[in-house]
Amino acid sequence: MLHKLFMYEALREAIDEEMARDKRVFVLGEDVGHYGGSYKVTKQLHTKYGDLRVLDTPIAENSFTGMAIGAAMTGLKPVVEGMNLSFLLLAFNQISNNAGMLHYTSGGNWSIPLVIRGPGGIGKQLSAEHSQRIEAYFQAVPGLKIVACSTPYNAKGLLKAAIRDNNPVLFLEHVLLYNLKQEIPKQEYVLPLDKAQVVREGSDVTIITYSRMLHHVMQAVKQLVAQGMNPEVIDLISLKPIDLETLVTSVSKTHKAIIVEECMQTGGIAAEVMAQIYSHAFDELDAPIRRLSSKDVPTPYNGYLEQACLVQPTQIVEAVKTLMST
């Protein structure tokens, strides 16, 4: 049995099911309760679960994130919503020192079963501050898991897995994917958090991507296939730790790789993926790895400039063709 849901509805189903299943699960953040969340992911949950389990917090990111960590240490399973993930820069200390590192620093005394989720990435002309790619900033923090969903189907299955995980998970939902619609199973399902997904099998080249850029890649792939090429497409899903095995298996088959991301090039996710492939599968490569990233500029407000900042499907087509001809 299938039903057609927007991604925000799939995410809500995931939270609703987990809250019904486990009383330790609760949601907190700015406007998650009465208002229903700025992207409606928690809409109406407060009427079902009450104000304590769907907790509207004051605008105090560092402290309510720390509070969630304290609650996670002492028996609860908090799901923090970042109204926009960019705002969690104010909670950087809590997320790195106390969510990421505390299990280790405490020698295993405390576990932090925590999900931090919300809208990330570059939206439509939201300008620099609201268009951060926080996965790049947080990827260096040991002990964190970073997961990016890309479809209603994987959004639901991955969020459920993230809530059940015993570690802090930074869960990225792309702000422009909330209104993506897809038929998804009505029956319960949970997806593995740590596995990259081979979205399209192919033999010529491996295109590695995640989140919204998957959709740009798939547009490009249509054109590439029409021109007789057969690319393999991998959705990373787990940005930390990276599922190296799936990447190496693919590259060992195609011998060429290109990474498409929305991060800025400097210190982005692609930088790490590239380094990992080079150190573990260098001999498999027939050509240098290409990466397509956002430009190293604060995201501009102007629509044309904003598009110029982002990787476009035509650029992916061109880059793949160039790579194929080397």
Partner: protein, 318 residues
Amino acid sequence: MWQLKLYRDMVLGRKFEDQCAQMYYRGKMFGFVHLYNGQEAVSTGVIQALAEHDYVCSTYRDHVHALSKGVSPKEVMAELFGKQTGCSKGRGGSMHLFSAPHRFLGGFAFIGEGIPIALGAAFSSLYQHNLWGVPMSVTACFFGDGTSNNGQFYECLNMAVLWKLPMIFVVENNQWAIGMAHHRSTSEVEIYEKAKMFGMPALEVDGMDVLAVHEVAKEAVERARSAKGPTLIEALTYRFRGHSLADPDELRAKQQKAIWMARDPITQLSSWLIEQELVTQEQLDKIHREIDIIISDAVQFALSSEEAKDLYQYVYAS
């Protein structure tokens, strides 16, 4: 006798810290080591008013809070030596003591970051009390005067009152934040007055008088446990040593130190106990001898324990 229990706890804290100084200078422990000498009445007075299932949250100056909450001196000393038998398995060190079995939340090395963690533990207690009738646990959160200028303090005062969390904010006002005198750092020196602005019951207490601290702590615990909400206790105290063992302590005036040292909380209590004829000097001496043995056992344990091993263990929880 409960007063004697307080006395014993303070002496344990004092002698433990003195031993730490020795061991640091002998090269047995490293990093930043912040000792608690002089402030014992605050840890003892508050923590001895808590139950076993209550939580304590501390800072980088955390050894004595951990001991008061029942973490064994052996495990704390071994942690300071970086040993696998330490309470944080040698991964944390002086500023990161943790003990889940003792509900000792930690050892938080950054200013103010423990306050939201404590708030979360208090929220968790309220949640579990309301949803499934678990007896209410109280969380005591310790931090310094300097830390009270940090935003997390105010954010958490607000939320604690807003949700009536079972929490006690314990400000150990020792008048110094490393080399920053309290009055040079803050617009209103009475920290408890700031809490009042949030509608929180708040009071000042002589932090060198363990009986006084204990008295106000018991009331705050009772308030928190019966779901009446948080309290802030500002304990006026003084650290007898430098900020950390790396601090030459040249800034604080000799007279200031002398005035406070004359009010040593341990000698104050022992004089009072003897004046009141509640104990004999012999009883007190016996406590000192017992604690000397506990401390030397702790050092022996730490010395003979193995170094922390397995670099990758504990990065992720299973």
